[in-house]
Symmetry: C2
DNA sequence: TATTTATCATAGCCAATGGCTATGGCTCCC
DNA sequence: GGGAGCCATAGCCATTGGCTATGATAAATA
């Protein structure tokens, strides 16, 4: 009644079914006739039906046996298939990988390597996940995301961090300020994403010097902030790579003496989780694109 | 590298994958944590890939692990399916059965039970095989045919023989003989199937008494013989049930003093091969139809 | 900082078992 | 009646899947 046979017993069975003779099947399988005999009894128990009719001239399959012969072959076949599939995944560059990064980082990083990567490895499937760098890093640590392209990642024992490039977060203004705009912190408008630690740090520095802005427009989208800044609404807090990405916006740094936050854009991933050929290919591709 | 894992290991794996924790999975499986730990290492060997990333907080599936989780579930499912399928075949009245019988026997026997049987058991599939009774009996013995409805079967140790009814093989002639027909053996025409042992016996008897027919029309088809006899070509050798099956033919026994061969129409099958519910149902159905 | 807690891995032991040899029982065929 | 072929049974042994106890390590806690 044991409901769990071994794969071996099924392969044994198939050989017996084909030769219709336990003794000869045993020879071909390289085991002895009594072993095979008991193995078949074992299998009959676990399947719950008589599989053979034992006769003087060998064995004949019952209907149950015929059923098992056909489907058992399929079963073994799908096991072999599964096994090779898995091993292929290990060595071939294929499968689905999730890359996480802040949307604004995405805008100046993904296009550097994704086109090439996707073209050179048609089996590769990439999924993107956009969020704050902090969140992305957490998701990498918790296996939810394979790779992160993140800013100033926290360190973590399991995390591999590769610095890709640097950036500065600073205050920007339109080249031609509108007449109504005041660059004076006391009266001017600041446009920024308060969720960014970089912004929090800069504003903290400013406040220490009593230079805090009174009015703040909050936006979670750096592209929106860039656009508003270019339109002359106020002073924007932006990474250089974001502020200067679109030339037609003509932004310029507000004041050299104002504080600047140094960003490190890094590739992060779990070393233990990314050992496949596909992972290595992706890592190399990203690193290369920033050299 | 052993390429043959046990089903148990896969069920273990699935539990571990679901709980993402070897210790808790071990509890649920009713084995100890070290056992499960080594079982998983075993499985990793046999599949040839790392399945988990072991961490302090439990285990996480690798991509290979995720693959195995999905397909492994299917694998176990198809095993269970196979198992229940086989057991259903044992107890339910379904599956394919082959019935063999001489075509002429078929004409007055099959219609007695087949319509009912097929209607009452929609899962039942019947295949017919027509040949000489002798051949059919051999095929039953060699497992090629499940049941035989045969005439005067030879005995065989493995064979179960159930007598269904009797019949006589004798000489027939048309009610109104044609002017040209001679009933005299010396000049008349005999129509028969020389392959039938019954016919051979009758002719042997006749020859002993010097009453042998000179001219013989041989046909392997008793319906043809019946038809020709009715048309007045000559004397036919036919079983009573065949000769009288179609009333409009108006055949009559030629002469009471001529020899008669007693036939036994029997159901034969291998007891060892026909233990399923379906077999029993078929046997009962056939026996009942002849009571 | 030291301790407790939670995790998986390792080591060593034991019983269950899959395999082997030898033998028995049963036909069929000389 | 004496092989010759089958499969089944019995008894033995090495392998192994499972158990207990312990180690190692990192995180949470005091």
């Amino acid at each position: 009644m044991a409901m769990a046979p071994a794969f071996t017993d099924i392969t044994y069975f198939i050989e017996v079914a084909q030769t219709q003779n336990i003794s000869r099947a045993a020879e071909r399988l390289g085991i002895t006739q009594p072993s095979l005999s008991s193995a078949m009894k074992r299998l009959e128990d676990s399947v719950g039906a008589t599989l053979f009719i034992r006769g003087r001239t060998g064995v004949q399959l019952t209907k149950a046996g015929k059923e098992l012969l056909g489907k058992g072959r399929l079963l073994l076949l799908s096991w072999e298939q599964l096994r090779t599939d898995i091993n292929k995944k290990e060595t071939a560059v294929s499968g689905q990988y999730i890359i996480g990064c802040h949307p604004s980082v995405a805008l100046y990083s993904l296009s550097r390597f994704l086109p090439n990567l996707m073209q050179q490895h048609p089996e590769l499937e990439i999924k993107l996940s956009h969020d704050l760098s902090r969140k992305i890093t957490e998701e990498v640590i918790s296996f939810e995301v394979d790779f992160g392209i993140v800013v100033n990642p926290v360190h973590h024992p399991d995390l591999v961090v590769k610095e890709l490039c640097t950036d500065d977060v600073l205050f920007w203004t339109a080249n031609r300020p509108s007449p109504t705009q005041s660059l004076d912190p006391q009266n001017g408008v600041l446009i920024c994403d308060l969720n960014l630690v970089q912004v929090q740090k800069l504003l903290g520095d400013l406040n220490k010097k009593n230079q805090g802005f009174k009015r703040i427009i909050q936006s979670g989208n750096l592209e929106v902030i860039t656009d508003l800044t270019a339109s002359g609404v106020g002073v924007g807090v932006l990474p250089r790579r974001v502020a200067t990405r679109i030339n037609s916006y003509k932004l310029r740094p507000l004041d050299n003496r104002l504080p600047v936050f140094k960003d490190k854009i890094c590739l992060v991933y779990r070393a233990d989780a990314q050992k496949t050929k596909g992972s290595q290919t992706i890592i190399e591709s990203i690193k290369k694109s920033f050299q």
